[in-house]
Subunit: 236 residues, 2 copies
């Protein structure tokens, strides 16, 4: 796995376990309109840039070899939730126009309004503009896919990556993205949502535990890759 990006440090502990903003709340101050929708192949350039930013954030650019072309040839090959699936997080200073094209494939976009105490400046707004004539920008993503628990005898979701661009962190958007995956898992009667975290990332661990997750202390990941994997080409 590449690494679930460490999320922003937690916001002050919410009163409810999920602590998400209320979609019916009246915008006051500086509203940030947010939307989570299924990504499409048209989003690949933005997704590629987000993954690259994540590699920089994690100081793992030496492992970053993905190209738009490699993503295009491997993503969006199955219906959503059956294989690799991406939720895209978009933000705007204005309410989203209704776009019925995003309502297909069994997932209705999630909209939430975050009331900020100051206007947010996005230095990369132009780079991450979503659509031509709009002020909607892509702010983050989560990539996940089904895994399987033989003990439960049913699937779950594995979250490979969760990333929110720097200027949108510490506002609850990472929590919204992860909650969207958890909610989808419950809807599908899946048994688990799992991901990984670096053991020294205490902020991330606290954030995940506040969301209800357990960190499993004893399990270690084994990885066979590169020449060591290639050695199996003629082994069988």
């Amino acid at each position: 796995m590449a690494a679930a990006a460490p999320p922003p440090p937690p916001t002050p502990a919410p009163s409810a376990p999920t602590g998400l903003p209320d979609s019916d709340s009246t915008p006051v101050g500086h509203p940030l309109f947010t939307r989570i929708r299924l990504a499409t192949p048209l989003d690949i350039p933005h997704i590629h840039k987000l993954i690259h930013q994540m590699a920089i954030f994690e100081k793992l650019t030496h492992l970053f070899t993905a190209t738009e072309s490699s993503l295009a040839s491997t993503l969006f090959k199955s219906p959503p939730f059956q294989s690799f699936t991406i939720f895209l997080l978009e933000v705007s200073a204005h309410p989203f126009e209704k776009d019925s094209s995003f309502h297909s494939q069994g997932f209705t976009p999630i909209e939430r309004i975050f009331n900020l105490d100051h206007t947010l400046i996005d230095p990369e707004a132009e780079t991450f503009k979503s659509g031509i004539n709009s002020d909607v920008v892509v702010a983050g993503f989560v990539l996940f896919f089904p895994n399987f628990s033989t003990f439960l005898g049913k699937p779950g979701f594995y979250v490979e990556d969760l990333f929110v661009r720097e200027c949108y962190r510490r506002k609850g958007l990472g929590k919204l993205l992860l909650s969207a995956v958890a909610s989808q898992a419950v809807k599908m009667e899946y048994g688990r949502v799992e991901w990984v975290v670096l053991d020294w990332n205490v902020n991330a661990i606290k954030f995940y535990e506040e969301m209800g997750a357990n960190v499993l202390p004893e399990w270690r990941i084994c990885r066979l890759t590169g020449p060591a994997l290639e050695a199996y080409r003629d082994a069988i």
Copy 2:
């Protein structure tokens, strides 16, 4: 994830990285004929029993809630390798009859002969008999499915479970099963094969490292399940 079953302690270090028996070797002494093939829905009763034995072995029967029915409703829903996939390990004291039905779906069964120094007694041969009029028995399985590395921009395989029944351990059969997955990953140009191991299981870690895997020390698994997951039912 349920837990990749700790494999048998390693056999003496092989001279080659994969160290698998040669399919052309002449059987001497007490040959054990082995075959790895794709599992089918007809194998579910055996698979269910194997998973249960794995839960007993791992002292995790309190987590074991899978039923034949739950497995039947979630497995074999996609073509092999696109989602949850099971390789079944069969053994016999005699050469396998050719069964062309196992050659479908893009995977040719793998056959190997292991030369043992004594006849092997399988106290559960009747329970795990594969087919009606044969001496073929099911000895183990590996369950795996695609995962995705955003950094590599391509899929890999995640090995959820690897299990060999007790009387067949310490003969190289676990290595054969895992090698079959690695070989399939290389064939499909996948970038990684990953699984997990318990940090105190030094025999398993040594075995995996001898197979070329790295154990990643810093990553920890986060799991959201049970009531903590259910809390997200109405969160979005």
